[in-house]
Amino acid sequence: MNSAFVGVTPFILQYLQLPTMLPILRNIVMYHIVPNTVLYSVNIPAGMTILAASNNATLTVINNTGVVTVNNANITQPDVLAANGVIQVLNNVTVPPGTYDFGLLNALYNVNATAFLGLIAQSSLGPYFVSSVPSSPPLLLPQQN
Protein backbone atom coordinates (compact mmCIF):
# COMPACT_ATOMS: atom_id res chain seq x y z
CA MET A 1 0.00 0.00 0.00
CA ASN A 2 1.41 3.40 -0.90
CA SER A 3 0.66 4.77 2.55
CA ALA A 4 3.06 2.20 3.96
CA PHE A 5 5.83 4.19 2.29
CA VAL A 6 5.19 7.31 4.29
CA GLY A 7 8.24 6.54 6.45
CA VAL A 8 10.41 5.97 3.43
CA THR A 9 11.72 9.10 1.84
CA PRO A 10 11.33 9.64 -1.89
CA PHE A 11 15.08 9.62 -1.97
CA ILE A 12 15.31 6.03 -0.78
CA LEU A 13 12.69 4.94 -3.28
CA GLN A 14 14.57 6.71 -5.99
CA TYR A 15 17.88 5.34 -4.78
CA LEU A 16 16.59 1.76 -4.60
CA GLN A 17 15.80 1.95 -8.29
CA LEU A 18 19.35 2.78 -9.30
CA PRO A 19 21.03 0.00 -11.28
CA THR A 20 23.68 -0.53 -8.62
CA MET A 21 21.01 -1.15 -5.99
CA LEU A 22 19.33 -3.91 -8.03
CA PRO A 23 20.40 -6.83 -5.79
CA ILE A 24 19.01 -5.08 -2.72
CA LEU A 25 15.81 -4.08 -4.47
CA ARG A 26 15.28 -7.64 -5.70
CA ASN A 27 15.87 -8.94 -2.21
CA ILE A 28 13.27 -6.58 -0.77
CA VAL A 29 10.67 -7.36 -3.46
CA MET A 30 11.22 -11.10 -3.13
CA TYR A 31 10.85 -10.81 0.62
CA HIS A 32 7.22 -9.87 0.02
CA ILE A 33 6.36 -12.93 -2.01
CA VAL A 34 5.69 -16.35 -0.52
CA PRO A 35 5.66 -19.00 -3.22
CA ASN A 36 3.71 -22.25 -3.38
CA THR A 37 1.24 -21.17 -0.72
CA VAL A 38 -2.05 -19.31 -1.00
CA LEU A 39 -2.49 -18.05 2.51
CA TYR A 40 -5.94 -16.62 3.12
CA SER A 41 -6.41 -14.81 6.39
CA VAL A 42 -8.84 -17.43 7.66
CA ASN A 43 -6.11 -20.03 7.25
CA ILE A 44 -3.48 -18.22 9.28
CA PRO A 45 -3.12 -20.25 12.47
CA ALA A 46 -3.43 -18.63 15.86
CA GLY A 47 -0.08 -17.71 17.36
CA MET A 48 3.15 -17.58 15.42
CA THR A 49 3.82 -18.94 11.95
CA ILE A 50 7.09 -18.80 10.07
CA LEU A 51 6.85 -18.45 6.29
CA ALA A 52 9.63 -18.78 3.76
CA ALA A 53 9.63 -15.87 1.32
CA SER A 54 10.86 -16.27 -2.22
CA ASN A 55 14.30 -14.96 -1.24
CA ASN A 56 14.45 -17.80 1.30
CA ALA A 57 14.35 -15.38 4.22
CA THR A 58 11.69 -15.97 6.83
CA LEU A 59 8.62 -13.90 7.60
CA THR A 60 7.16 -14.05 11.08
CA VAL A 61 3.37 -14.04 11.06
CA ILE A 62 1.56 -13.61 14.34
CA ASN A 63 -2.19 -14.09 14.60
CA ASN A 64 -3.27 -12.58 17.91
CA THR A 65 -7.01 -13.31 18.09
CA GLY A 66 -7.64 -12.06 14.60
CA VAL A 67 -5.15 -9.19 14.58
CA VAL A 68 -2.43 -10.37 12.24
CA THR A 69 1.05 -8.94 11.99
CA VAL A 70 3.78 -9.75 9.51
CA ASN A 71 7.14 -8.89 11.07
CA ASN A 72 6.55 -5.30 12.14
CA ALA A 73 3.52 -4.61 9.93
CA ASN A 74 -0.21 -5.16 10.40
CA ILE A 75 -2.45 -6.70 7.77
CA THR A 76 -4.89 -3.87 7.19
CA GLN A 77 -6.79 -5.31 4.23
CA PRO A 78 -7.00 -9.08 4.24
CA ASP A 79 -7.48 -11.30 1.24
CA VAL A 80 -7.42 -9.28 -1.96
CA LEU A 81 -8.38 -12.19 -4.17
CA ALA A 82 -6.26 -12.80 -7.25
CA ALA A 83 -6.33 -15.42 -9.96
CA ASN A 84 -2.86 -16.62 -9.10
CA GLY A 85 -2.85 -16.13 -5.35
CA VAL A 86 -3.89 -13.64 -2.75
CA ILE A 87 -2.68 -10.23 -1.60
CA GLN A 88 -2.50 -9.31 2.07
CA VAL A 89 -2.15 -5.57 2.40
CA LEU A 90 0.27 -4.26 5.05
CA ASN A 91 0.57 -0.85 6.68
CA ASN A 92 4.32 -0.83 6.97
CA VAL A 93 7.39 -1.70 4.96
CA THR A 94 9.04 -4.86 6.06
CA VAL A 95 12.60 -5.56 5.10
CA PRO A 96 14.63 -8.76 5.13
CA PRO A 97 16.62 -9.72 8.19
CA GLY A 98 19.99 -8.01 8.33
CA THR A 99 18.24 -4.68 8.44
CA TYR A 100 19.16 -2.31 5.72
CA ASP A 101 20.32 0.97 7.09
CA PHE A 102 19.75 3.81 4.76
CA GLY A 103 20.83 6.20 7.45
CA LEU A 104 24.21 6.99 5.93
CA LEU A 105 22.84 7.74 2.50
CA ASN A 106 19.98 9.66 4.02
CA ALA A 107 22.45 11.70 5.94
CA LEU A 108 24.29 12.54 2.73
CA TYR A 109 21.01 13.50 1.15
CA ASN A 110 20.03 15.62 4.10
CA VAL A 111 23.24 17.61 3.99
CA ASN A 112 22.60 18.12 0.30
CA ALA A 113 25.70 16.14 -0.76
CA THR A 114 23.88 15.12 -3.91
CA ALA A 115 26.91 15.33 -6.15
CA PHE A 116 28.74 12.84 -4.00
CA LEU A 117 25.66 10.63 -3.89
CA GLY A 118 25.59 10.74 -7.63
CA LEU A 119 29.15 9.46 -7.75
CA ILE A 120 28.29 6.66 -5.34
CA ALA A 121 25.35 5.78 -7.52
CA GLN A 122 27.53 5.56 -10.59
CA SER A 123 30.07 3.41 -8.83
CA SER A 124 29.51 -0.14 -7.75
CA LEU A 125 29.83 0.91 -4.16
CA GLY A 126 26.14 1.55 -3.51
CA PRO A 127 25.46 -1.68 -1.64
CA TYR A 128 28.29 -0.92 0.74
CA PHE A 129 26.40 2.12 1.91
CA VAL A 130 23.24 0.15 2.46
CA SER A 131 24.35 -2.70 4.57
CA SER A 132 23.50 -4.88 7.43
CA VAL A 133 27.14 -5.07 8.36
CA PRO A 134 27.44 -3.34 11.72
CA SER A 135 30.70 -1.77 10.69
CA SER A 136 29.70 0.49 7.89
CA PRO A 137 32.83 1.90 6.37
CA PRO A 138 33.75 5.27 7.84
CA LEU A 139 33.04 7.93 5.38
CA LEU A 140 35.02 11.00 4.69
CA LEU A 141 32.72 13.37 2.98
CA PRO A 142 34.13 15.93 0.57
CA GLN A 143 32.51 19.34 0.48
CA GLN A 144 29.78 19.56 -2.11
CA ASN A 145 31.61 22.29 -3.93
Binding site: N2, V29, N36, D79, N84
Partner: protein, 473 residues
Protein backbone atom coordinates in the same frame (compact mmCIF):
# COMPACT_ATOMS: atom_id res chain seq x y z
CA UNK B 1 -101.99 -63.83 -7.23
CA UNK B 2 -102.71 -60.57 -5.55
CA UNK B 3 -100.69 -59.27 -2.62
CA UNK B 4 -101.73 -56.62 -0.08
CA UNK B 5 -99.45 -54.17 -1.86
CA UNK B 6 -101.53 -54.36 -4.99
CA UNK B 7 -104.30 -52.73 -3.09
CA UNK B 8 -102.05 -50.10 -1.60
CA UNK B 9 -102.24 -46.61 -3.05
CA UNK B 10 -99.67 -45.29 -5.55
CA UNK B 11 -97.17 -42.53 -4.88
CA UNK B 12 -99.56 -40.07 -6.53
CA UNK B 13 -102.32 -40.98 -4.11
CA UNK B 14 -99.99 -40.79 -1.12
CA UNK B 15 -98.70 -37.36 -2.19
CA UNK B 16 -102.18 -36.07 -2.63
CA UNK B 17 -103.22 -37.50 0.73
CA UNK B 18 -100.37 -35.53 2.37
CA UNK B 19 -101.45 -32.34 0.58
CA UNK B 20 -98.27 -32.23 -1.51
CA UNK B 21 -100.18 -30.93 -4.48
CA UNK B 22 -97.49 -28.69 -5.92
CA UNK B 23 -95.14 -31.66 -6.18
CA UNK B 24 -97.78 -33.53 -8.16
CA UNK B 25 -98.60 -30.61 -10.42
CA UNK B 26 -94.93 -29.87 -11.09
CA UNK B 27 -94.23 -33.53 -11.90
CA UNK B 28 -97.14 -33.52 -14.29
CA UNK B 29 -96.17 -30.20 -15.82
CA UNK B 30 -92.63 -31.43 -16.48
CA UNK B 31 -93.67 -34.73 -18.01
CA UNK B 32 -92.70 -36.83 -15.02
CA UNK B 33 -96.19 -37.62 -13.74
CA UNK B 34 -96.00 -41.16 -15.05
CA UNK B 35 -93.32 -42.03 -12.50
CA UNK B 36 -95.85 -41.51 -9.74
CA UNK B 37 -98.27 -44.01 -11.27
CA UNK B 38 -95.75 -46.54 -12.56
CA UNK B 39 -96.12 -49.71 -10.53
CA UNK B 40 -93.32 -51.52 -12.36
CA UNK B 41 -90.59 -49.52 -10.62
CA UNK B 42 -90.14 -48.32 -7.06
CA UNK B 43 -89.09 -44.82 -6.08
CA UNK B 44 -88.41 -42.88 -2.94
CA UNK B 45 -89.87 -39.39 -3.31
CA UNK B 46 -88.47 -36.49 -1.32
CA UNK B 47 -91.39 -34.15 -1.69
CA UNK B 48 -91.04 -30.49 -0.69
CA UNK B 49 -94.09 -28.94 0.91
CA UNK B 50 -96.28 -26.58 -1.08
CA UNK B 51 -94.84 -23.73 0.97
CA UNK B 52 -91.32 -24.83 0.06
CA UNK B 53 -92.19 -24.72 -3.65
CA UNK B 54 -93.76 -21.33 -3.18
CA UNK B 55 -90.48 -20.03 -1.76
CA UNK B 56 -88.50 -20.60 -4.99
CA UNK B 57 -89.14 -18.93 -8.34
CA UNK B 58 -91.16 -21.12 -10.70
CA UNK B 59 -88.37 -20.88 -13.27
CA UNK B 60 -86.10 -22.80 -10.86
CA UNK B 61 -88.30 -25.89 -11.12
CA UNK B 62 -87.71 -28.17 -14.06
CA UNK B 63 -87.48 -31.89 -14.84
CA UNK B 64 -83.81 -32.01 -13.81
CA UNK B 65 -84.52 -30.56 -10.39
CA UNK B 66 -87.57 -32.76 -9.89
CA UNK B 67 -85.66 -35.93 -10.84
CA UNK B 68 -83.15 -35.01 -8.16
CA UNK B 69 -85.96 -35.48 -5.61
CA UNK B 70 -86.45 -39.16 -6.48
CA UNK B 71 -84.38 -42.28 -6.00
CA UNK B 72 -84.83 -45.57 -7.81
CA UNK B 73 -85.45 -47.71 -4.76
CA UNK B 74 -87.34 -47.70 -1.48
CA UNK B 75 -85.40 -46.05 1.35
CA UNK B 76 -87.12 -45.95 4.71
CA UNK B 77 -85.96 -43.35 7.22
CA UNK B 78 -84.52 -46.08 9.41
CA UNK B 79 -82.00 -46.93 6.69
CA UNK B 80 -80.45 -43.46 6.70
CA UNK B 81 -77.05 -43.23 8.35
CA UNK B 82 -75.17 -40.00 8.79
CA UNK B 83 -72.75 -39.33 5.97
CA UNK B 84 -74.03 -41.83 3.46
CA UNK B 85 -75.19 -40.98 -0.03
CA UNK B 86 -78.34 -41.95 -1.83
CA UNK B 87 -78.50 -42.12 -5.59
CA UNK B 88 -81.12 -39.96 -7.20
CA UNK B 89 -83.14 -40.66 -10.32
CA UNK B 90 -81.20 -37.89 -12.00
CA UNK B 91 -78.47 -38.87 -14.41
CA UNK B 92 -76.38 -36.08 -15.87
CA UNK B 93 -73.66 -35.94 -18.51
CA UNK B 94 -71.68 -33.77 -16.07
CA UNK B 95 -71.46 -36.85 -13.87
CA UNK B 96 -70.63 -39.14 -16.77
CA UNK B 97 -74.30 -40.16 -16.76
CA UNK B 98 -73.89 -41.59 -13.30
CA UNK B 99 -76.66 -40.73 -10.89
CA UNK B 100 -76.49 -37.46 -9.03
CA UNK B 101 -75.93 -38.19 -5.36
CA UNK B 102 -77.92 -36.97 -2.37
CA UNK B 103 -76.11 -36.56 0.91
CA UNK B 104 -77.77 -37.85 4.05
CA UNK B 105 -77.14 -36.20 7.42
CA UNK B 106 -78.53 -37.52 10.66
CA UNK B 107 -78.51 -35.27 13.70
CA UNK B 108 -78.43 -37.68 16.59
CA UNK B 109 -79.35 -35.03 19.17
CA UNK B 110 -82.45 -33.70 17.48
CA UNK B 111 -82.99 -37.02 15.73
CA UNK B 112 -83.62 -35.21 12.45
CA UNK B 113 -82.63 -36.40 9.01
CA UNK B 114 -81.50 -34.02 6.29
CA UNK B 115 -81.10 -34.49 2.57
CA UNK B 116 -78.42 -32.06 1.43
CA UNK B 117 -79.61 -28.85 3.11
CA UNK B 118 -83.29 -29.77 3.41
CA UNK B 119 -84.79 -31.31 6.55
CA UNK B 120 -87.18 -34.24 6.42
CA UNK B 121 -90.26 -33.01 8.31
CA UNK B 122 -91.94 -36.41 8.33
CA UNK B 123 -91.69 -39.56 6.26
CA UNK B 124 -92.17 -43.26 5.69
CA UNK B 125 -95.47 -42.67 3.85
CA UNK B 126 -95.55 -46.00 2.09
CA UNK B 127 -97.02 -46.51 -1.36
CA UNK B 128 -97.39 -49.56 -3.55
CA UNK B 129 -94.57 -48.26 -5.73
CA UNK B 130 -92.36 -46.55 -3.18
CA UNK B 131 -92.24 -44.26 -0.20
CA UNK B 132 -92.64 -40.50 0.39
CA UNK B 133 -90.63 -38.30 2.77
CA UNK B 134 -91.66 -34.67 3.18
CA UNK B 135 -88.93 -32.00 2.78
CA UNK B 136 -88.74 -28.56 4.34
CA UNK B 137 -87.31 -27.00 1.18
CA UNK B 138 -86.71 -27.66 -2.47
CA UNK B 139 -83.41 -29.35 -3.26
CA UNK B 140 -81.18 -27.54 -5.68
CA UNK B 141 -78.48 -29.19 -7.76
CA UNK B 142 -75.00 -28.84 -6.33
CA UNK B 143 -72.80 -26.19 -7.92
CA UNK B 144 -69.76 -26.97 -10.02
CA UNK B 145 -66.49 -27.65 -8.22
CA UNK B 146 -65.19 -24.29 -9.40
CA UNK B 147 -68.02 -22.47 -7.65
CA UNK B 148 -67.65 -24.47 -4.45
CA UNK B 149 -63.92 -23.73 -4.30
CA UNK B 150 -64.46 -20.01 -4.61
CA UNK B 151 -66.99 -20.01 -1.78
CA UNK B 152 -65.20 -22.09 0.83
CA UNK B 153 -62.98 -19.86 2.95
CA UNK B 154 -60.60 -22.59 4.09
CA UNK B 155 -59.87 -23.47 0.46
CA UNK B 156 -58.85 -19.98 -0.61
CA UNK B 157 -55.17 -20.90 -1.12
CA UNK B 158 -56.07 -23.85 -3.32
CA UNK B 159 -58.65 -21.81 -5.17
CA UNK B 160 -56.15 -19.07 -5.86
CA UNK B 161 -53.55 -21.47 -7.26
CA UNK B 162 -56.16 -23.31 -9.31
CA UNK B 163 -57.25 -19.98 -10.68
CA UNK B 164 -53.74 -18.95 -11.73
CA UNK B 165 -53.14 -22.36 -13.28
CA UNK B 166 -56.28 -22.09 -15.37
CA UNK B 167 -57.77 -25.24 -13.86
CA UNK B 168 -60.42 -23.39 -11.89
CA UNK B 169 -62.11 -21.93 -14.91
CA UNK B 170 -61.11 -24.90 -17.03
CA UNK B 171 -61.63 -28.49 -15.97
CA UNK B 172 -63.19 -27.73 -12.61
CA UNK B 173 -65.83 -25.54 -14.23
CA UNK B 174 -66.76 -27.87 -17.02
CA UNK B 175 -65.17 -31.31 -17.08
CA UNK B 176 -67.45 -34.10 -15.94
CA UNK B 177 -66.91 -36.69 -13.28
CA UNK B 178 -64.08 -35.27 -11.18
CA UNK B 179 -63.05 -36.39 -7.72
CA UNK B 180 -61.11 -33.57 -6.10
CA UNK B 181 -58.97 -34.02 -3.01
CA UNK B 182 -58.77 -30.45 -1.79
CA UNK B 183 -55.93 -29.40 0.54
CA UNK B 184 -57.10 -26.83 3.05
CA UNK B 185 -55.33 -23.57 3.83
CA UNK B 186 -53.91 -25.34 6.89
CA UNK B 187 -52.40 -27.92 4.54
CA UNK B 188 -50.79 -25.19 2.44
CA UNK B 189 -49.40 -23.53 5.55
CA UNK B 190 -47.33 -26.66 6.10
CA UNK B 191 -45.74 -26.57 2.66
CA UNK B 192 -42.21 -25.18 2.49
CA UNK B 193 -42.75 -21.46 1.69
CA UNK B 194 -39.87 -21.60 -0.80
CA UNK B 195 -41.72 -24.30 -2.74
CA UNK B 196 -44.92 -22.25 -2.64
CA UNK B 197 -43.02 -19.20 -3.85
CA UNK B 198 -41.68 -21.31 -6.70
CA UNK B 199 -45.14 -22.57 -7.64
CA UNK B 200 -46.32 -18.96 -7.91
CA UNK B 201 -43.72 -18.04 -10.55
CA UNK B 202 -44.76 -17.82 -14.20
CA UNK B 203 -41.99 -20.23 -15.20
CA UNK B 204 -43.50 -22.84 -12.86
CA UNK B 205 -46.91 -22.75 -14.53
CA UNK B 206 -46.77 -26.21 -16.05
CA UNK B 207 -45.41 -27.72 -12.83
CA UNK B 208 -48.11 -25.97 -10.82
CA UNK B 209 -50.74 -27.44 -13.10
CA UNK B 210 -49.13 -30.84 -12.69
CA UNK B 211 -49.11 -30.60 -8.89
CA UNK B 212 -52.71 -29.39 -8.70
CA UNK B 213 -54.06 -31.97 -11.13
CA UNK B 214 -52.35 -34.60 -8.98
CA UNK B 215 -55.21 -33.93 -6.56
CA UNK B 216 -57.91 -34.92 -9.07
CA UNK B 217 -59.17 -38.27 -10.29
CA UNK B 218 -60.64 -37.75 -13.73
CA UNK B 219 -63.57 -40.17 -13.82
CA UNK B 220 -63.81 -39.82 -17.57
CA UNK B 221 -60.53 -41.73 -17.88
CA UNK B 222 -61.11 -44.42 -15.25
CA UNK B 223 -62.56 -47.84 -15.95
CA UNK B 224 -65.39 -47.90 -15.27
CA UNK B 225 -66.05 -44.19 -15.46
CA UNK B 226 -66.49 -43.33 -11.83
CA UNK B 227 -66.78 -40.60 -9.28
CA UNK B 228 -65.10 -41.60 -6.05
CA UNK B 229 -67.37 -40.81 -3.15
CA UNK B 230 -66.34 -41.78 0.34
CA UNK B 231 -67.97 -45.17 0.14
CA UNK B 232 -66.93 -45.98 -3.40
CA UNK B 233 -63.22 -45.66 -2.70
CA UNK B 234 -62.21 -49.28 -2.13
CA UNK B 235 -61.06 -50.47 1.26
CA UNK B 236 -57.38 -51.40 1.52
CA UNK B 237 -54.65 -50.08 -0.73
CA UNK B 238 -55.49 -48.84 -4.20
CA UNK B 239 -53.34 -47.04 -6.75
CA UNK B 240 -55.10 -44.36 -8.75
CA UNK B 241 -53.70 -42.64 -11.79
CA UNK B 242 -54.44 -39.01 -11.13
CA UNK B 243 -55.28 -36.39 -13.73
CA UNK B 244 -51.60 -35.36 -13.83
CA UNK B 245 -50.70 -38.82 -15.07
CA UNK B 246 -48.86 -39.69 -11.86
CA UNK B 247 -49.96 -42.50 -9.59
CA UNK B 248 -51.13 -41.89 -6.02
CA UNK B 249 -51.56 -44.59 -3.43
CA UNK B 250 -54.81 -44.57 -1.48
CA UNK B 251 -54.97 -46.47 1.76
CA UNK B 252 -58.40 -46.86 3.30
CA UNK B 253 -58.56 -48.52 6.69
CA UNK B 254 -62.07 -47.56 7.75
CA UNK B 255 -65.24 -45.89 6.48
CA UNK B 256 -63.76 -42.44 7.12
CA UNK B 257 -60.08 -43.34 7.42
CA UNK B 258 -58.42 -42.54 4.14
CA UNK B 259 -54.73 -41.72 3.67
CA UNK B 260 -53.11 -40.73 0.39
CA UNK B 261 -49.42 -41.43 -0.24
CA UNK B 262 -49.02 -42.16 3.49
CA UNK B 263 -49.10 -38.41 3.93
CA UNK B 264 -52.47 -36.74 3.49
CA UNK B 265 -55.53 -37.69 5.50
CA UNK B 266 -59.03 -36.97 4.26
CA UNK B 267 -60.76 -34.83 6.87
CA UNK B 268 -64.02 -33.98 5.09
CA UNK B 269 -65.87 -36.28 2.73
CA UNK B 270 -68.50 -36.01 0.03
CA UNK B 271 -68.92 -32.34 -0.73
CA UNK B 272 -71.23 -32.87 -3.68
CA UNK B 273 -70.70 -31.01 -6.91
CA UNK B 274 -72.51 -30.87 -10.21
CA UNK B 275 -69.44 -32.33 -11.88
CA UNK B 276 -68.18 -34.65 -9.19
CA UNK B 277 -67.30 -34.65 -5.56
CA UNK B 278 -64.75 -33.01 -3.30
CA UNK B 279 -63.00 -34.34 -0.21
CA UNK B 280 -60.90 -32.17 2.08
CA UNK B 281 -57.34 -33.32 2.81
CA UNK B 282 -54.86 -32.06 5.38
CA UNK B 283 -51.71 -32.07 3.25
CA UNK B 284 -50.71 -30.93 -0.20
CA UNK B 285 -49.79 -33.84 -2.46
CA UNK B 286 -46.73 -33.70 -4.68
CA UNK B 287 -46.35 -36.18 -7.52
CA UNK B 288 -43.27 -38.42 -7.34
CA UNK B 289 -41.96 -36.61 -10.41
CA UNK B 290 -41.80 -33.34 -8.45
CA UNK B 291 -38.25 -32.76 -7.25
CA UNK B 292 -37.32 -29.37 -5.86
CA UNK B 293 -33.93 -29.12 -7.50
CA UNK B 294 -31.60 -26.17 -8.10
CA UNK B 295 -33.40 -25.24 -11.29
CA UNK B 296 -36.68 -24.90 -9.40
CA UNK B 297 -34.95 -23.00 -6.58
CA UNK B 298 -33.55 -20.51 -9.14
CA UNK B 299 -37.04 -20.00 -10.51
CA UNK B 300 -38.31 -19.65 -6.94
CA UNK B 301 -35.97 -16.76 -6.25
CA UNK B 302 -36.78 -15.28 -9.66
CA UNK B 303 -33.14 -15.39 -10.80
CA UNK B 304 -34.41 -16.16 -14.25
CA UNK B 305 -31.71 -14.30 -16.18
CA UNK B 306 -28.96 -16.24 -14.45
CA UNK B 307 -30.92 -19.48 -14.86
CA UNK B 308 -31.14 -18.91 -18.59
CA UNK B 309 -27.39 -18.36 -18.80
CA UNK B 310 -26.83 -21.66 -16.97
CA UNK B 311 -29.36 -23.51 -19.12
CA UNK B 312 -27.60 -22.25 -22.24
CA UNK B 313 -24.34 -23.77 -21.03
CA UNK B 314 -24.12 -27.42 -22.01
CA UNK B 315 -21.46 -27.82 -19.34
CA UNK B 316 -23.39 -26.30 -16.43
CA UNK B 317 -27.06 -26.98 -17.22
CA UNK B 318 -26.88 -30.66 -16.16
CA UNK B 319 -25.72 -29.63 -12.68
CA UNK B 320 -29.10 -28.04 -11.97
CA UNK B 321 -30.85 -31.40 -11.98
CA UNK B 322 -27.93 -33.60 -11.07
CA UNK B 323 -27.20 -35.72 -8.02
CA UNK B 324 -24.20 -33.71 -6.82
CA UNK B 325 -24.77 -30.83 -4.41
CA UNK B 326 -23.81 -27.28 -5.32
CA UNK B 327 -24.14 -23.86 -3.77
CA UNK B 328 -25.16 -21.28 -6.34
CA UNK B 329 -24.70 -17.56 -5.78
CA UNK B 330 -27.29 -16.26 -8.21
CA UNK B 331 -27.19 -12.62 -9.28
CA UNK B 332 -30.70 -11.21 -9.46
CA UNK B 333 -32.05 -9.98 -12.75
CA UNK B 334 -31.24 -6.37 -11.90
CA UNK B 335 -27.58 -7.27 -11.29
CA UNK B 336 -27.35 -8.96 -14.69
CA UNK B 337 -29.10 -6.06 -16.38
CA UNK B 338 -26.55 -3.69 -14.85
CA UNK B 339 -23.80 -5.43 -16.82
CA UNK B 340 -25.35 -4.32 -20.09
CA UNK B 341 -22.71 -4.36 -22.79
CA UNK B 342 -20.13 -5.64 -20.31
CA UNK B 343 -21.83 -9.03 -20.27
CA UNK B 344 -19.09 -11.49 -21.15
CA UNK B 345 -19.45 -14.03 -23.91
CA UNK B 346 -17.89 -17.32 -24.82
CA UNK B 347 -15.20 -18.63 -22.50
CA UNK B 348 -15.31 -15.51 -20.35
CA UNK B 349 -19.03 -16.04 -19.80
CA UNK B 350 -18.51 -19.67 -18.86
CA UNK B 351 -15.81 -18.67 -16.39
CA UNK B 352 -18.04 -15.98 -14.92
CA UNK B 353 -20.80 -18.55 -14.41
CA UNK B 354 -18.41 -21.10 -12.93
CA UNK B 355 -17.22 -18.48 -10.46
CA UNK B 356 -20.77 -18.35 -9.03
CA UNK B 357 -20.97 -22.08 -8.29
CA UNK B 358 -19.37 -23.82 -5.32
CA UNK B 359 -19.36 -27.61 -4.98
CA UNK B 360 -21.15 -28.69 -1.80
CA UNK B 361 -23.97 -27.17 0.21
CA UNK B 362 -23.11 -24.04 2.18
CA UNK B 363 -25.78 -22.34 4.26
CA UNK B 364 -25.14 -18.74 5.26
CA UNK B 365 -25.88 -19.70 8.84
CA UNK B 366 -22.59 -21.59 8.88
CA UNK B 367 -20.52 -18.89 7.20
CA UNK B 368 -17.55 -17.48 9.07
CA UNK B 369 -15.95 -14.16 8.33
CA UNK B 370 -13.09 -14.54 5.88
CA UNK B 371 -14.15 -18.04 4.84
CA UNK B 372 -13.05 -18.85 1.32
CA UNK B 373 -15.20 -21.04 -0.92
CA UNK B 374 -13.56 -22.82 -3.85
CA UNK B 375 -15.66 -22.44 -6.98
CA UNK B 376 -16.00 -24.44 -10.17
CA UNK B 377 -13.64 -22.03 -11.91
CA UNK B 378 -10.26 -23.58 -12.63
CA UNK B 379 -8.40 -21.23 -14.98
CA UNK B 380 -5.96 -22.72 -17.43
CA UNK B 381 -2.28 -22.53 -16.56
CA UNK B 382 -2.74 -22.01 -12.82
CA UNK B 383 -1.85 -25.51 -11.67
CA UNK B 384 -5.45 -26.60 -11.22
CA UNK B 385 -6.31 -24.39 -8.29
CA UNK B 386 -9.95 -23.38 -7.90
CA UNK B 387 -10.75 -19.70 -7.80
CA UNK B 388 -12.31 -18.81 -4.47
CA UNK B 389 -15.05 -16.57 -3.19
CA UNK B 390 -14.60 -14.80 0.13
CA UNK B 391 -17.29 -14.51 2.80
CA UNK B 392 -17.48 -11.21 4.60
CA UNK B 393 -19.77 -11.10 7.62
CA UNK B 394 -17.96 -8.28 9.37
CA UNK B 395 -20.80 -5.86 8.65
CA UNK B 396 -23.11 -7.99 10.84
CA UNK B 397 -26.28 -6.68 9.22
CA UNK B 398 -25.62 -8.39 5.93
CA UNK B 399 -23.44 -11.05 4.45
CA UNK B 400 -21.22 -10.33 1.48
CA UNK B 401 -19.60 -12.66 -1.01
CA UNK B 402 -16.67 -10.71 -2.39
CA UNK B 403 -18.34 -7.38 -3.17
CA UNK B 404 -21.86 -8.81 -3.58
CA UNK B 405 -24.53 -8.57 -0.90
CA UNK B 406 -26.63 -11.67 -0.27
CA UNK B 407 -30.22 -10.46 -0.53
CA UNK B 408 -32.05 -13.80 -0.28
CA UNK B 409 -30.36 -16.68 1.48
CA UNK B 410 -30.68 -20.44 1.80
CA UNK B 411 -33.18 -21.45 -0.86
CA UNK B 412 -32.72 -25.13 -0.27
CA UNK B 413 -33.01 -27.65 -3.06
CA UNK B 414 -32.53 -31.40 -2.89
CA UNK B 415 -29.20 -30.96 -4.65
CA UNK B 416 -27.87 -27.82 -3.05
CA UNK B 417 -28.77 -24.32 -2.07
CA UNK B 418 -29.25 -20.96 -3.80
CA UNK B 419 -28.29 -17.55 -2.40
CA UNK B 420 -29.31 -14.45 -4.33
CA UNK B 421 -26.75 -11.66 -4.68
CA UNK B 422 -27.12 -8.09 -5.87
CA UNK B 423 -23.94 -7.92 -7.95
CA UNK B 424 -22.39 -10.16 -10.56
CA UNK B 425 -19.19 -11.74 -9.25
CA UNK B 426 -16.13 -11.09 -11.39
CA UNK B 427 -13.35 -13.70 -11.37
CA UNK B 428 -10.15 -12.30 -9.83
CA UNK B 429 -7.40 -10.82 -11.97
CA UNK B 430 -3.76 -11.84 -11.87
CA UNK B 431 -1.64 -10.24 -9.18
CA UNK B 432 0.40 -8.52 -11.86
CA UNK B 433 -2.74 -6.92 -13.26
CA UNK B 434 -3.98 -5.87 -9.84
CA UNK B 435 -0.63 -4.21 -9.10
CA UNK B 436 -0.65 -2.45 -12.43
CA UNK B 437 -4.22 -1.19 -12.23
CA UNK B 438 -4.84 -0.42 -8.56
CA UNK B 439 -3.31 3.00 -7.75
CA UNK B 440 -2.94 1.99 -4.11
CA UNK B 441 -0.22 -0.44 -5.15
CA UNK B 442 1.60 1.81 -7.60
CA UNK B 443 4.72 2.25 -5.44
CA UNK B 444 5.24 -1.44 -4.96
CA UNK B 445 4.49 -2.05 -8.60
CA UNK B 446 7.17 0.43 -9.64
CA UNK B 447 9.68 -1.42 -7.46
CA UNK B 448 8.62 -4.76 -8.95
CA UNK B 449 9.12 -3.36 -12.41
CA UNK B 450 12.47 -1.79 -11.52
CA UNK B 451 13.68 -5.03 -9.96
CA UNK B 452 13.04 -6.98 -13.13
CA UNK B 453 10.93 -9.41 -11.12
CA UNK B 454 7.69 -8.80 -12.98
CA UNK B 455 7.58 -12.44 -13.99
CA UNK B 456 7.41 -13.35 -10.32
CA UNK B 457 3.94 -11.90 -9.98
CA UNK B 458 2.57 -13.27 -13.23
CA UNK B 459 0.69 -16.35 -12.35
CA UNK B 460 0.85 -18.19 -15.59
CA UNK B 461 4.58 -17.84 -15.87
CA UNK B 462 6.23 -21.21 -16.01
CA UNK B 463 9.01 -20.28 -13.63
CA UNK B 464 6.58 -19.79 -10.80
CA UNK B 465 3.74 -21.85 -9.52
CA UNK B 466 0.49 -20.04 -9.09
CA UNK B 467 0.73 -19.95 -5.38
CA UNK B 468 1.80 -16.59 -4.19
CA UNK B 469 1.03 -14.95 -0.94
CA UNK B 470 2.02 -11.43 -1.65
CA UNK B 471 2.71 -9.16 1.25
CA UNK B 472 2.67 -5.69 -0.10
CA UNK B 473 4.10 -2.79 1.74
Amino acid sequence: MLTPLDFAPTLRVILRGQGLTTMISQMDANGLGGLLNDTTANHTVFAPTNAAFAAVPPSAINATVLNYHLTDDVEMLSSFVDGILEWSHLRLPSLLNNTQALRISVNSTSNTVSINNATILSGNYTASNGVVHILSSVLSLPPYLSTILQNVTVLSNLSSLLNSSGLLNGALASSPGLTLFAPTNMAFSQVNPQVLQYLGRPLAASVLQNVLSYHIINGATTTPNAIYYRDTIPMGTTNFTMMSGDVAQFNKTGVSALTINNQANATVFNVLAANGVMHGVNAVLFPPSFVFDLQKALIGVDATGFLNLLLNSSLLAPLLNGATNYTIFAPNNAALAALQQNMPTGMALLQMLQYHIVPGTYFTTNFTNGQVLPTLLFPMGLNGAAQVLRVNTSLLTSTYINNANITMANYTAVNGVVHVIDTVLVPPMNISTILATNPAFSTFNSLVQASGLAALVQGNSLSLSLSLSLFIF
